[in-house]
């Protein structure tokens, strides 16, 4: 899973925030996340600048440590939301929510993919970022947030009888066989109350 991790680089001079940003970075790596971050570029003093440019359509979500909001954070959020990428915005408990973020939370279109979470600085606490981030990653993996790409391949063995039917049906519907099957599965999925219930629970638990 590829994620963009964004921090306020202006706060790197402050040891407290530098340590926090790096701790979260390490935690994400430890959790198997394929990470792209503005932090890496800064810490390596520009050595990574020659890396191949990647964009929002190549990542699955954005995580921001935004207790001390940077002006660029708004653009990162706006672009991620425009690309329909979920955003986890982390704030240390005891800080006020910036006005612009309140607007995002209240907007029905923007708020859908924007998750603002307060975390406790006590790592052993249940509301530490060490609990929030894995929950967010689980939610992503459940597939209920990410706009799915049709890129999973597997082998399906069918009988000649089914194959004949599939060929006949796909011609009649003027669709590729794979497309016809995908649509049928999507119909089943969207009409499955038990699966809907499962997704609803995953979201509300976060």
């Amino acid at each position: 899973m590829k994620i963009y991790y964004f921090t306020n680089l202006d706060k790197l001079k402050d040891k407290y925030w530098e340590n926090r940003y790096i701790e979260i970075h390490k935690f994400l790596i430890k959790n198997g996340v394929n990470l792209v971050s503005n932090l890496e570029k800064k810490l390596s003093r520009g050595e990574n600048e020659a890396r191949k440019s990647i964009s929002y359509d190549q990542i699955e979500a954005v995580i921001i440590e935004g207790t001390k909001i940077s002006p660029d954070a708004i653009y990162v959020i706006a672009t991620a939301l425009a690309y329909k990428k979920p955003v986890l915005y982390l704030m240390e408990k005891g800080n006020a929510i910036p006005e612009q973020l309140e607007y995002i939370r209240k907007d029905p279109n923007l708020g859908e993919n924007f998750f603002l979470k307060f975390y406790s600085k006590n790592e052993k606490d249940k509301s530490s970022y060490k609990s929030i981030i894995p929950d967010f990653l689980n939610l992503l993996e459940s597939g209920s947030l990410i706009k799915e790409k049709v890129n999973v391949k597997f082998t399906l063995r069918i009988s000649p009888k089914i194959e004949r039917y599939l060929t006949w049906k796909s011609m009649a519907e003027k669709k590729a066989k794979a497309e016809y099957l995908r649509q049928k599965l999507e119909e089943i999925m969207s009409n499955d109350p038990e699966y809907k219930n499962f997704l609803r629970k995953a979201r509300s638990n976060f």
Partner: protein, 326 residues
């Protein structure tokens, strides 16, 4: 919160899954159109206007109205973003680049690359991101005229169209960019120093630009003494095989009828055979040359001044040409 002035001047094809493809055709459409990109309202306060592109995309009236709108509003906002059809962005951007030299605030041009096929329209899915990036460029205070598309922010004088569709349909002729975009802006051209801002409202596009030397009858007509054409530009073929005697004859006819003849290529001339006759110009994009000549003709009709201004580097418009590819 930053204040941005949006000018709708074509290139507004915005795709929304629920609403479909939405265009701004008249002022009343803008409110609903903006509602489809709520992301913009978290970045800046937005005011807007529309230039009626239906008159004629780059008509004299429209350009005059656009320049007036920019000059009246630039001081009131942190930046101006102009939406325009991507096909004519190079010409429009260069026109603004010459008429509003070294603006005190960012003037950014972008647009939706909506492609009309015979049976359907292909929307530009990167348009929202381009627009958001334009807002970010206002925030970064890069006080220049610039074009944003895909991952590149390019100065109009370096702009070159390189593709019909895709992430980057524009490139810089010498690979120099104002900035690049991935998860934020990386300003590359940090050495840029702006001169004092100058606004020019006069321009004159009564000249013609040929890819090759046209037939004699047409030329005689174009070079008639009493028509409105001030200049004719011929672009040299790539292999530069051109009958020099034919060009000298043209020059003489032009001289007799008070017309300027310009011989142009992008690569440069090894020998300037025409340095005392025809004006030779190179190492500049055709759109930049057109906009520069239009600006010059708006300021003077004196032939020796025109020659001098065309040859002189005024806005860092000439570039080193090794990288040009067709």
């Amino acid at each position: 919160m930053k204040k941005v002035f949006l000018i709708f001047y074509g290139g507004t094809g915005l795709y929304d899954k629920k609403a479909g493809l939405k265009f701004v055709e008249k002022y009343e459409d803008i409110y609903d159109w903006l509602k489809l990109i709520p992301e913009l309202s978290i970045m800046a306060e937005i005011d807007y206007t529309i230039i009626d592109k239906n008159k004629d995309l780059l008509s004299r009236e429209n350009i005059a109205e656009l320049l007036k709108t920019i000059s009246e509003n630039l001081s009131k906002y942190d930046g101006i973003i102009i939406l325009h059809e991507v096909d004519s962005i190079p010409m429009l951007a260069n026109t603004i680049f010459w008429q509003i030299q070294a603006p005190e605030k960012p003037i950014i041009i972008t647009g939706a690359n909506t492609i009309e096929k015979q049976t359907h329209i292909i929307p530009d899915l990167s348009f929202k991101a381009n627009l958001i990036n334009a807002f970010q460029l206002v925030e970064s205070k890069v006080a220049r005229v610039s074009v944003i598309y895909g991952s590149r922010i390019i100065c109009p004088s370096r702009l070159k169209r390189v593709g019909l569709s895709g992430l980057n349909i524009f490139d810089s002729v010498n690979k120099q960019y104002i900035a690049r975009i991935d998860f934020g802006l990386s300003i590359e051209d940090k050495t840029y120093k702006a001169k004092e801002s100058e606004y020019y409202f006069k321009f004159d596009r009564d000249f013609v630009f040929f890819k090759t030397i046209p037939g004699v009858k047409l030329l005689e007509k174009l070079l008639e003494k009493n028509n409105e054409i001030h200049a004719i530009i011929f672009e040299a073929w790539k292999n530069q095989i051109t009958e020099r005697s034919k060009l000298i004859d043209l020059y003489k006819l032009g001289q007799k009828n008070n017309k300027i003849i310009i011989f142009y290529n992008q690569i440069g001339f090894a020998k300037d055979f025409f340095k005392h006759t025809i004006i030779t110009i190179s190492n500049i994009t055709p759109e930049c040359l057109s906009a520069k000549l239009s600006w010059i003709l708006g300021q003077t009709k004196n032939k020796s001044q025109i020659r001098e201004m065309l040859k002189k580097e005024i806005m860092d418009e000439f570039f080193v040409n090794e990288i040009i590819k067709d």
